[in-house]
Amino acid sequence: MTEGLDLLDDIGLVLSVFILLFISYFHLRPGEDKRTWDRRMGASLVIWLLLYFVLRRMQTLVPTTGIDYLTADTVFISISGYASSLNFFYTHLFLMLLVPIPFLRKSWQIAALGIFVFIAIHIDRTAVAADADPFYNSMLTYVIIMAAVLVCFATGMRFLINPPAIDDKSVEALAMRRSGFFALGTIAVVMDNMIFRAIGFLAGTGNAWWTFPTVNYSGATAGYNYAMVTLAEMTFILGVFSFVMIAFGLGSIYHIIQSIRKKHPVSLATVFSGYLLFIWALIIFRHWAWVTGYATWDMSEMPMDANAEIITALSDGFSFHLIYPTIALLHAVKFGLITIESERDQKILRLVALCVMVAITAVFTTLLEVIIPIPDLVLAVVCGLVLATGWERHLIDALEPDEEMKTVSWAWPGNERAMTWGVNLMIGIPFVVKLLLGVVY
């Protein structure tokens, strides 16, 4: 059973690499680049996100690509830790706060956020260092990122429940539409597996409150005051996850009803709503499994039995290996972050769509085989039929950007070149440092 589930790692890695190469090619290819700053920046951020996914998977699958904590010098281990955190948090924060219509509008605001995040990382790491006194669970960086999630959520939620009329071409409507669409896509891309704690937060169960990283051991190690700090931080983090998922769940139902009543246009928001409801089904199932003991996980959320392995594969695995890279692709193409123009571009997109279809089929059949042992031959016939009926065409249609998404934009109110280089260096340098330290040590 585990062998089948292990295949998901390989499929997910190959899919991520493939989509990464695809977006990178269109983003970096030589020639005149007519894209506006937000599309270039958006494409860069999606590439950094995919690189983060790929490196993380690589360092799990091939430990030699990661730093060896037993033999490497502690200084390098520490630098690698900082680099990894900076890479992760900068990528996610800028994806939520910088594009397409920026919340950070001055270079100093970007720099200030960067410094603030660095200080937060330092505080978090110092609090759990081996010689820390007091030793407590600090999650300040997560609090920052969840605050950004709230901003992104408000934008997406506003669009989900109250989208501007489709024929409204006013600048406000254009801004609300573009930012709303993008926010929904970004939320889907950066979702963490902690969304599966949405019910546990309200129910007060251990799958939310006593599962790392939200474990409050600070009372035992540092006393009451630090326990309160940790409790406030973890409540904020879990609360945002729960609040966002519940609100999106209700918003999705509302949007679908309004779409059926033809009061909301059927759009990417409808796809997002369907995805959210699917995720909610998984959330409910996983929470039920935890509460009833049908499946058990340890405090690090590692599966402890066969049922937990399958449910983890269905929820975490499915999201990490298939949904996130696929949505990253959708994000890049749908919002015109990369330009698909010529006949040749279309052919490449078709090839990628076919590969994504193959990956979707592979992941589904892998999961299906684990749950219900179906002969490979039957699966092959079903897959052949699915692929032969031209489903990749539907995927390509879904990827096709709206005209408005390709053309409307807002100018960066400052030195665009400096901002673009600055953000890329802020993310890129930690990534390269982490990669090099991992390979060398």
């Binding site: 007519k34 506006t36 700053w37 219509i101 920026p102 919340f103 509008r105 709230l150 901003v151 408000a154 934008t155 939620m157 506003r158 109250n162 071409k169 006013s170 600048v171 406000e172 254009l174 801004a175 609300m176 937060f201 309200l202 007060g204 409150w209 409050n216 009372g219 035992a220 190690t221 540092a222 006393g223 009451y224 005051n225 326990a227 409790l231 406030a232 409540t235 904020f236 609360g239 945002v240 729960s242 609040f243 609100a247 059927v266 249609d397 879904a398 096709e400 709206d402 005209e403 408005e404 053309t407 409307v408 934009s409 807002w410 100018a411 109110p413 400052g414 030195n415 665009e416 070149r417």
Partner: protein
Amino acid sequence: MRTEKDLMNLKKDELIEIAKSLNIDTSGTKAELTTRILASEVQPAGEAGQDFDEATESKIDIESSDATMSGEEGIIEDESENSGEASVESSAESSQDIIFDELPSRWLIAGGLRPVPYLSTLAVVFILMFTYGFNDFYSVQYAVEGSDKEYIDCARITYHSLGDGNTTDYDPTNQANIDCAELLGISPNWWQEDMDAWLQSMLDSVSGNGNETGFIWTQVGIDTMAYLGASTFNANMSVYGDPIAGDEFTEQDLAIWNGYTATMGGGNDTIEDLLVGGGSPFAIYMPMGIVDYKPTGFLWTQAGIDTMAYLGASTFNTNMSVFGDPSNGDVFTAQHLAVWNGFAAAFPGGGTDTYEDLLPSGGSPFAIYMPQGIVEHAPTGYFWSHPGVPTMAYLGSSTFGANMSVFADPAPGDVFTAQHLAVWNGFTLQMGGGNDTIADLLPGGASPFAIYMPSGIVITEAEWTNQTPSVSNVTVEVNGTTNTTMFSCGYIFSDAQGDSDNSTIIWFINNSYAANTSTYSANLTNGTTIACMVTPYDGLYWGVSIESQDHLILATED
């Protein structure tokens, strides 16, 4: 007139063809194409494009295909001077970028046209959820009668700091710990008490079930008990089931013994009290004891005792008393193994070791912490012989379909254990054998397979010692010359069979390997040390290597 449904049922290529025929934009999804076609059929083609309202148009810059952005100011510069108005009219058709130079407010992006009620509602709901979550967890984890802060801080001191023996701060007699323990209503020494209880429960749990006590009758014990029965208790050995040496000394046997001695001031002995030097009040009447540990085939080694003592002190928070303070050569009993596994079970992968896993290079997950192992094979009086190892390897591969790993890859001189004999008999059982004793495997032994092993498999311990050559009095001898000093290694070679001396010599300079010649010549500087090591060899058997004392080079030798 086509309806929306008609159009949506068409393929995208067909929609593109229709759009081309209507001279409208052919890009976009099927839904967009359908909308555009329907719109073009109710208004002229030129009006079907993207029409922004007047207010919007006033805020936008429309970038033609060759428009560039100023890097310094971020202001749109349209290098194509006459493309402006024309581009507005045909923007939808030519995919031109429409770039607004004034960013919309953050309130509009996050909150829409009515941000205050919308964002306020979200904020209130979130604050309520946050408050609920915080209070829910707090009430379960931190709310106590009295001061929550004082209680939690005390819990840290007593359970995780001064009162916790696993921390470096451990100091149960510290006043702060005593005060906090009182507040918490526990003993300030709770950790040690818990550890003691745990150890006791573990020892209790590994005790025998009455039939597997881990102790056996000894012959001297049987004789002693028979004498005591006849002289004192008016009973013969039938009350114990007439045991013979090596039989299990059961809990029932112990109960009978205690029953007899209860009337004479005893009655509370454990089986350990009946060992040699045990604590029984009647020990004086049974100086050789009654029982002995049941052999397991494994003995404690001194290295094992030292290692276990270190692990106990550093890791398991205990001392060797849990193993009954064993000495080198004592039986490593089933109870010892159970205690070890009880400790190791607290660590990942531990708790399932066998005796073999505790041998040097054994399979224990903790092998890295005990490179010399904990135990050794108990002597059986027989060793693997030099011809025995290759003979068994040949028989294994040619006849039994097994390699020497089933015997744990022994070397000549290793103990031929009872387990090895069992493996051998297991192989030969299906071929008419299966009842050999170890002695049957000696050269010319009684094994039905003796014909296949004319030199035997094993050698007796005495024979091994007799055949193995030895050396003694190993010393470095100096033969000085003017320029170079030649060193030779002096020793006394002994071999019971009088075989010739084929011993090898290795030289060490300053404790580092230097040469393996019979003599060593060099002009060594003052302060250098030289030593030699002799490995006795009579052409057939290798003996135990003996190293000389270090010889220090002094100025007078130059």
